[in-house]
């Protein structure tokens, strides 16, 4: 109900974080670990700059850009869904989360088609160090996206529930989905754009 999703009293509101602390521990840890993957990638890239630059040319910048736009848009929908849920419009919130979910599925479909294209042209995991990183980093990120799709289903169920909604579940799902978006931006910048 509206009052369950309504912001806490003013004094508590100032100190309140989005979602719950548990999910923030997970998200911050995950960001640190991915940060380490990025650093390790940079070290190897520095050692084989030419190979990495030449291999990068085989990636589809259009597919990468499209996927970035998809995730950014889905993150926007999730943010709007939180606003809608807070204002008591749970139906709109659920609809917006459903749009995000569909965009997430589109991301997976594009990623799989990108992989299929590369593999069919001989650019496999063992081709060279660039493609080793490409498949492993995008693969681990894809795992996060698929997990995120499951999380969004939980959020949609929570919004559909006739019982009073637990706002922390909805907000935690949003925090996780934003993290998935942020991780992808790092991967997109390092693997697709960096020259």
């Amino acid at each position: 109900m509206l009052q369950d999703l309504a912001p806490s009293p003013p004094t508590a509101k100032a100190e309140r974080i989005l979602g719950d602390l548990n999910v923030w521990i997970f998200v911050l840890g995950d960001l640190v670990f991915f940060g380490a993957y990025y650093v390790i990638y940079m070290v190897y890239r520095h050692q084989e700059t030419r190979v990495f630059l030449a291999s990068q040319q085989h990636l589809s910048l259009i597919a990468g850009t499209l996927n970035t736009m998809i995730l950014l848009t889905s993150s926007r929908f999730v943010a709007l869904a939180i606003q809608a849920a807070r204002s008591g419009d749970r139906e709109r919130a659920r609809r917006l989360i459903a749009y995000s979910w569909l965009l997430g599925v589109a991301f997976v479909a594009i990623k799989v088609s990108e992989w299929t294209y590369l593999i069919s042209h001989g650019f496999t995991l063992t081709r060279n160090d660039f493609f080793m990183f490409y498949f492993m980093l995008t693969g681990v990120h894809l795992f996060h996206v698929i997990l995120g799709l499951a999380v969004l289903v939980v959020v949609m169920r929570e919004l559909r529930s006739p019982e009073p909604s637990r706002s922390w579940i909805i907000e935690s799902g949003a925090v996780y989905w934003h993290m998935v978006d942020l991780l992808w931006i790092g991967i997109f910048a390092l693997l697709y754009l960096m020259r």
């Binding site: 719950d20 548990n22 997970f26 995950d30 670990f33 993957y37 390790i40």
Partner: protein, 252 residues
Amino acid sequence: MANTQIHVGSSTRTVNVAAGREKLDLWICWWILPVFYTFFGLIFVLLAHVMPPPSPGLSVPQILAFFHAHATTIKIGFALLMGVIGLGSISNGLVAYQMKRMSVSPVFAYGYIATLAVGALPGCLFCAIFFLAAVLRPDRNPHLIALSYDAALLTFVGSLGCFLANYCVFAAAVLLDKNQIFPKWLGYMAVWQIVTELLAAPVFIFKKGPFAWNGAIAFYEGTVIFGIFLTCLILQVRKAIELQPADELVPD
């Protein structure tokens, strides 16, 4: 010492509350956790030299030299392991016991024990046996010794599936539990572990680089994350025992 009647389901049991309050049985089991992992570190790092893993890129003469240099400590270390490996089972039993206190089905606890029991074979014992076989007959065909080396380290770092299932079971139990036996963040941490298991999968493909069995990502980062998770798990099991009512009976 006072006896009291405890109702569990349809049955009634009499327990000695005064003795139970001390929770000595649980504390004995809890202390086995840090003791076992101290032994584990001592054996695998200092004695057997499995951690950090030697390079998968060693030539056959280099592998022979490795076993020649560490033959004695490998024998001592893994002989010790044969004596203490069972302690790990008790540690896992204690975690499973706490999982049975959760609001979720006990099948999660059974799954936790079973996956770790299966995982202990490739993740611990196979490695020991292959190393011990390699140093038992140093005059054996060098290529067979090299095969033992590969098999040992591939099973040790690459034993993914059982542990992956184990972390899934643990994460699901913690996140679904309504009794708050463990904090939710510990369940999320298990998801980190799932990711590290996935990232160790290519050890069967690469002989060098970050995803080889001694790689920065497949081994080092995964080990750091495991260390963080294990430390948190040990501390949270302690906290769970502290908060557990002394007269609580956990259903069989």
